[in-house]
């Protein structure tokens, strides 16, 4: 359920880009998210992760996400 919500938020923030969300523990609060987007090109890792945090601000603030792992990639 939370995977769906997170996926939708990321797809909304990164339209047309490659987005995946994995529930790492099956408990619905530890996630691995991966985003591949040309928006990351030329950005530092801190800036790239900030864009992902911005997209997930609501579930980060309300406690839906207990632990988040982020992997970002620009275009090859």
């Amino acid at each position: 359920m939370a995977v769906r919500t997170l996926t939708e938020l990321l797809e909304g923030a990164f339209p047309g880009d490659e987005v995946s969300v994995e529930d790492r523990t099956g408990g619905g609060d530890h996630f691995q998210v991966t985003v591949v987007s040309p928006r990351f090109d030329g950005l530092s890792l801190v800036e790239q992760h900030r864009l992902v945090y911005d997209a997930l601000a609501a579930p980060l603030a309300d406690g839906t996400i207990h632990e988040l792992r982020i992997s970002t990639k620009g275009t090859p």
Partner: protein
């Protein structure tokens, strides 16, 4: 409290805000960041954010970074566990540390309170 946090960030070579202490880590991501820093020989000044929820609130307000751990080198936010691990893999972590702190990385760890 905010001034104390700011002081740790600005005056430490490497500041690690974590859940628990280096001797007793309370969270997997804090462990990952600490281990990557140790392997790179970083002199880590650790702050346990768990004693008071305000530490985390103030820290995130200062850094604009919502999650723990947070790693700073000479006042600059480097990132959380994922970024520190990625920088370690690419060799950039050690390069940055040597660039900013010099070639003699002591690896000495200490823990400081902010409350």
């Amino acid at each position: 409290m905010r001034d104390e946090i700011k002081d740790v960030i600005e005056t430490s070579d490497v500041a690690l805000f974590m859940k628990g202490t280096p001797q007793f880590v309370m969270c997997g991501n804090s462990q990952r960041a600490l281990e990557a820093l140790r392997r790179a020989g970083a002199p880590v000044t650790a702050v346990d954010i768990l004693p008071d929820p305000r530490i985390r609130q103030e820290l995130s307000a200062l850094s604009g970074w919502p999650t723990i751990p947070q790693v700073f080198v000479r006042g600059e936010l480097i990132g959380g566990a994922d970024i520190v691990e990625e920088l370690e893999r690419s060799g950039e972590l050690e390069r940055t540390l040597r660039e900013k702190l010099g070639d003699e990385l002591s690896g000495v760890e200490r823990t400081v309170p902010v409350v």
